[in-house]
C-alpha cells in the first residue's frame, strides 16, 4: 500500500526548481563569446561543412582557465553542461559526457535549452518520434519504439493531430538548405536525448520527488505571525561577532589534534590500515582510557559528562567527596526528559522523593526560589518540570566540582595510567594481510544485553558501603581486554 503524494508523472518532467540552470546559462554565454570564448572550428562532413564545432579538449581547457580549476574538475563541469543539454556531442551522441580529446561538440541553440518555465510536453515527443518514423520506417531504437507505442496508447484521442503536425514539420524541413537541416536535426536529436534519455542511463534531468510548495507562487499566509516573530527577534540579546567568532575559531584550535582528518589517529585510523586497535582502545567503558581521551575531558564539563568513561571517573570522585547525589539527580533528570512518556510521572515522583523532598535520602542543595518553582511544577509534571533545578545543579557541578575534579587524585591517577599508543608502521604486505583479516564486531544488541545485566547486578547490591561500590567500579569493563597496541 503506497500513499503517493507526488503528482502522477506520465512522463512530464517539469521542474520548477533547478537553480543551477541560470548559472549554467551564464557560463554558456561566456563560452560563446566570439573573442574570449571557446575557439571553434568547422566540421567537415562528406559534402557539407558545419561551422562552429568545438573540441572536447578546448572546452576543458577554457573551463579550467576561466574558473581556475584543474582539468579533472573542468571535465566534470563540462560533462554536467553536456548532461543538461547546453552542449551536445556530434559523435557518439547518446553519451552525454565531455571527452578530453578532439571529439567535436556544438552549442545547443537557446530554443532547445532546458527551462524552468514550461514542461517538456509528451505531445512534442510524440510528434518528434512520428516525424522520424515518417522519414524512414524502422529507424526508431527499441526504447523509442516502446515510448512511441505507449504514447500512441495514451494520446490516441489526438493522434491525428500529432501525425498531421509531424507531416508538416517534415515537409517544412525538406525546404531548408542541407547544412541547416543537418544542424537542426542534430540539435533536435540532442534535445530529446537529454529529456527522454534511454533507460539505464544517468540523466541530469532526473529530479527526484517533487516538493509540495511551488517556489514561484506568492507567499500569502502568516504575515502577521512573522511580524510578531520579527519583533521578538529584534529584542533578542546578541553577542558581538568578535566574541562568538573568536569562540568558533578557538574550538577548532582546541580540537585540532583530536580530529582524525587533521592529525594522526593513534595508533592508526582503522579505515586506513584495517586495524581496529583504535576502536578497541576507545570502547565506551574501557578500564584504562587513552591519553587523548582524558585530555578531551579537560576541554569542557560537557565533554566529561558525554563520555561514559569520563562520567564514571567523575562519579568516583564525587563519591569520595560525598556529593554523588548531584550527578545522580542530573542523570535522573536526563532520564526523565528523554524517556518514555508512560513512565514519566512515576519517574518524576521518584526523583522528588529521592532528591528534593524534605528529609530525602539524597537531598540536593538548591536555592529556595528554584525549589519553589520545581515543587509547584511537580503538581502537573511534564518532561521539563525539573529543568530549572537541573540547570542549577549542572552549573554547580560545572563551576565547582569540575574544577576540583581536575585537581583531584582520582583524575591525576587516571591520567597517569592512561595509555599513549605508538603509531602503527605497517608494511604494504602487512596492510594487505590486515585487509584480508577484517573481522565483524560484537553486535550492539549483544553489548546492550550485557550492559543491562551489569546494571541489574549493580542495582541488586545496595550501594551503601562506599568501599564495595568503589571496588565494583574499578572491576567494571575488565571483560574487554585491550589488545597490545604495538604491532611489528
Amino acid at each position: 500500500m503506497t500513499i503517493r503524494n507526488a503528482i502522477r508523472d506520465h512522463g512530464q518532467r517539469y521542474r520548477p526548481r533547478m537553480a543551477c540552470l541560470k548559472k549554467a546559462e551564464k557560463v554558456l554565454l561566456e563560452m560563446q563569446d566570439p573573442k574570449t570564448g571557446v575557439k571553434s572550428q568547422p566540421q567537415r562532413l562528406v559534402i557539407t561543412t558545419i561551422p562552429h564545432a568545438i573540441s572536447g579538449e578546448d572546452i576543458i581547457a577554457w573551463l579550467a582557465d576561466r574558473f581556475q580549476i584543474d582539468s579533472q574538475e573542468a571535465r566534470n563541469l563540462g560533462s554536467m553542461l553536456v548532461a543538461l543539454g547546453y552542449i551536445y556531442p556530434l559523435q557518439d551522441h547518446k553519451r552525454l559526457v565531455i571527452k578530453p580529446d578532439a571529439s567535436l561538440y556544438r552549442f545547443q541553440t537557446p530554443y532547445f535549452w532546458p527551462t524552468q518555465q514550461w514542461p517538456v510536453e509528451d505531445t512534442d515527443y510524440a510528434i518528434y518520434l512520428a516525424k522520424r518514423n515518417i522519414r524512414k520506417k524502422g529507424i526508431l531504437e527499441l526504447h523509442e519504439q516502446e515510448q512511441y507505442n505507449r504514447l500512441h496508447k495514451w494520446m490516441n484521442h489526438k493522434w491525428d493531430f500529432i501525425v498531421m503536425q509531424a507531416k508538416e514539420q517534415y515537409r517544412a524541413a525538406k525546404e531548408r538548405k542541407k547544412p541547416d537541416r543537418v544542424v537542426f536535426d542534430c540539435q533536435e536529436r540532442a534535445y530529446w536525448v537529454v529529456h527522454r534519455p534511454p533507460p539505464g542511463t544517468v540523466s541530469a534531468m532526473d529530479y527526484g520527488l517533487e516538493r509540495r510548495i511551488d517556489p514561484n507562487a506568492d507567499e500569502v499566509t502568516g504575515e502577521s505571525l512573522h511580524m510578531i516573530f520579527t519583533q521578538q527577534s529584534i529584542m533578542r540579546p546578541r553577542v558581538k561577532s568578535s566574541v562568538s567568532i573568536g569562540a568558533l575559531v578557538k574550538y577548532c584550535a582546541t580540537y585540532n589534534s583530536h580530529d582524525p582528518f587533521l592529525s594522526k589517529c593513534l595508533p592508526s585510523n582503522p579505515w586506513l590500515t584495517d586495524d581496529v586497535t583504535y576502536w578497541t582502545l576507545n570502547m565506551p567503558n574501557v578500564e584504562i582510557p587513552t591519553k587523548m581521551r582524558v585530555e578531551r575531558w579537560t576541554f569542557s564539563f560537557r565533554e566529561l559528562l558525554s563520555d561514559p568513561r569520563g562520567r564514571d571517573d567523575f562519579r568516583l570522585f564525587l563519591k569520595k567527596e560525598f556529593s554523588g547525589e548531584n550527578l545522580a539527580f542530573w542523570e535522573g533528570c536526563e532520564d526523565l526528559k528523554w524517556g518514555t512518556a508512560a513512565t514519566m510521572r512515576e519517574k518524576a515522583e521518584h526523583i522528588y522523593k529521592t532528591f528534593l523532598a524534605r528529609g530525602a535520602p539524597r537531598w540536593i542543595n538548591i536555592d529556595g526560589k528554584t525549589m519553589e518553582i520545581t515543587v509547584k511544577g511537580l503538581k502537573h509534571p511534564h518532561r521539563y518540570v525539573l529543568e530549572a533545578a537541573q540547570t542549577h545543579i549542572y552549573m554547580l557541578m560545572k563551576k565547582d566540582s569540575f574544577g576540583r575534579y581536575m585537581k583531584s587524585p582520582v583524575f591525576k591517577d587516571t591520567l597517569k595510567k592512561a595509555i599513549a599508543p605508538e603509531e602503527h608502521k605497517f608494511t604494504d604486505a602487512q596492510l594487505e594481510q590486515n585487509a584480508k583479516n577484517r573481522r565483524p564486531s560484537l553486535s550492539p544488541i549483544i553489548l546492550r544485553q550485557q550492559e543491562l545485566e551489569q546494571k541489574a547486578k549493580m542495582a541488586a547490591s545496595a550501594p551503601v558501603d562506599i568501599t564495595q561500590v568503589m571496588s565494583k567500579l574499578s572491576k567494571q569493563g575488565k571483560e574487554v581486554a585491550p589488545r597490545p597496541p604495538s604491532k611489528n
Binding site: L77, M80, I228, V243, C252, K376, R383, T391
Partner: protein
Amino acid sequence: MCQHVESTEINCLLCKNVRLLICLCSPFRCRSLPAQRKIYMRSPPIPEMATQEVQLNETLAHLKTESETLKSKLEEERAKLHDVELHQVAEKVEGLGQFVMKTRRTLKGHGNKVLCMDWCKDKRRIVSSSQDGKVIVWDAFTTNKEHAVTMPCTWVMACAYAPSGCAVACGGLDNKCSVYPLSLDKNENLAAKKKSVAMHTNYLSACSFTNSDMQILTSSGDGTCALWDVESGQLLQSFHGHAADVLCLDLAPSETGNTFVSGGCDKKANVWDMRSGQCIQSFETHESDINSVRYYPSGDAFASGSDDATCRLYDLRADREVAIYSKESIIFGVSSVDFSLSGRLLFGGYNDYTINVWDVLKGTRVSILFGHENRVSTLRVSPDGTAFCTGSWDHTLRIWA
C-alpha cells in the same frame, strides 16, 4: 547549554504577570503553563491577536511593506554588533595542508537510488535507505549486510540509527516514521515488530532520535516538525513556522541542549526550542531550498546546504550568517553537509556527483572528491570523526578517509 543563564523578572507576554525566568533565550513566557494543552494544539497561541485583528483586515500590500520594514530593522540590529568577519579572525590561523582522501569502502547492495544514511554510535555500522523501499544495516568496516527491511512504500527519504544501536527508524512517502527493533535472528522478519510512531500529512523528509531510543524528532513535507514518544506513538510537541516543506533537521549536540535546527523550501533555517515548540531564531539568506542543516560541534553555530549551490555558516550567538562557501565553478545544489570532528572542515555532497571539502574558518575550498556516478544524496561524518560516508543515486555508498 545556552550561555545566557541568569535569573530575572520579566513580564510574561501571555498573562502579563511577573515571572521568574532562568534563560533569556527562551521566548518571554511564564513557566506555569501546563504542558498537557500543548499536545493537541495545532498552532501556538498568539497573545497580540486581538490588537492584530485590525491589521489583518488591511490589504496584503500594506502588510508586506510593514513586514519588510521590520525585517530591515532586524538586520540593522544584527549589524550593530557585527565588528569583525570570520575570515579576518581566521587570518591568524594556520593554513591546512594537502589532503589525501580516498574511497576506502564501497557498499553495494541497494537496487536503486540511495537517499539517506546514518551511523551507529559504535562508529562502524550504518543504516541506509533507498528509493525502492529497502532499508539495509551494514557493518561498513567489513562491508557485510547485517539486517534488511523492505518498507511498504517507495522513496524512503529518512532513516536514523537509535543511540543504543538496537533499532532503526525510517520513513518517506508513507507519511510515517516507523521504528524497527533489530534482531540477531537472521530468519526473523523485522517488519513483524515494527512500530508506527509518527504520522504526518505529507512525506517524511528527515528523522532523528533524541538522546535516547524513546523519542524521535521528524520533519515533513507538510511544513511541520514534530517530537514523538516511540513507545506510545504520542505526539509530544509540534513545531509550526515553516511556510513550505521542511527538508532537514539536526539536533543540538550539547548534553543539556533542548534545541534543534530545521531547513525548508521557504529558504529559511529555523532554530526551535523543544520544550515550548517555539521558533527562537530564524535565518533567511539562502536563495533556494535548504536541503541540509548541521550543527557545528560546539553547538554555537550551524551550517546549511542549499539548491543555490552554496553552503553557509550561521553563528547562533551573534545571530547572523558569518560565512558563505561557494565557487563560481560550482553551479549544482548541495544535498547534504557535515562537519569534521573539530569543525574545521565542512564536507558537502553536491548534485554534480562530487564532494567538496571546505576550510570552515578561511572560507576556501580544500579539496574536491570524485567517484560517484550520480548525485550525492546524503553525507555523514562517523561519530568519532575517522571517516565520512556518502550515499548516492548511483545505488552505492562510499566510506572516505
